[in-house]
Symmetry: C2
Subunit: 158 residues, 2 copies
């Protein structure tokens, strides 16, 4: 044993956005949800902390689930760029932009460039489960041509 | 008005680690505390979030206050590198390493390279005030030659 547990937990070095001792996990375990080419690393989660910090990485063409929930997301783009949908707004996002996803707001992240999109996401440790759009809600969302293009993987240029 | 308030708050673009609409503040307002060449931006702080995310940036040679407190720090190096003290451990840190500062643990960050050191720090929104070392505690800390060298601005090479 060259390094006690306490030491390991105090400092985690990284190589290419993979952190020592942090498991790279599937994005989520929810068979209902549609997503593509995305991984999750939980960087900080501790009983004494009221927030959690997670890192999500999308390969080019990847996207997160289109969902909403009561809890907020506080996002910082850590690597690369892409687009996101927040409510009815499609936004071009780049490292190190900040994105706030307010409560009960539809959102999705997409790696629309020829590079990975990696982002940090701070959430409350105690939080509700995501909701997926009903067919009616999806129809309402896609009635906006920009939102429809985004969800179809064709975000605006520029 | 080209952009409603809601829109501004949802997406903050950055230029050189300065975020739109985020005030660059003095590191702290505490006349007791020793620190140098460090600024603070509060990236996320919201009544519905139980955690806060702050960005601190130290110019070369800068350092944060040597302090401890009941609340934990969850740190991710966002820019550059340097050294930190956590407990009795002096560590070389680089983007994007993770550092956990456990409860009631002396700590300090130093920009020991010829580049700024910028880091994110997640904390509980509700937290106690930092404590500064007494002369006795400082004497105990500096009885370790590596810690003394660090606090004197001379961290180990390599």
């Amino acid at each position: 044993m060259t390094m006690p547990d306490r030491e390991q937990a105090t400092h985690r070095k990284a190589q290419g956005y993979r952190w020592e001792g942090v498991e790279e996990r599937p994005y989520k375990d929810d068979a209902r949800a549609l997503f593509k080419s995305i991984t999750r690393q939980v960087l900080f989660s501790h009983p004494d902390m009221h927030g959690e910090l997670r890192y999500f990485e999308l390969a080019p063409g990847g996207f997160s689930t289109l969902e909403r929930h009561e809890h907020m997301h506080a996002v910082l783009i850590l690597r690369g760029g892409g687009h996101c949908l927040v409510g009815e707004q499609v936004k071009r996002i780049d490292q190190p932009d900040l994105i706030t996803v307010p409560a009960v707001t539809w959102h999705q992240f997409r790696a629309t460039a020829a590079e990975p999109l990696g982002f940090l996401c701070m959430v409350n440790a105690a939080r509700d489960r995501p909701q997926l759009p009903s067919p009616d809600e999806l129809a309402r969302l896609t009635s906006d041509v920009k939102v429809a293009a985004f969800l179809n993987g064709e975000p605006p240029r520029g």
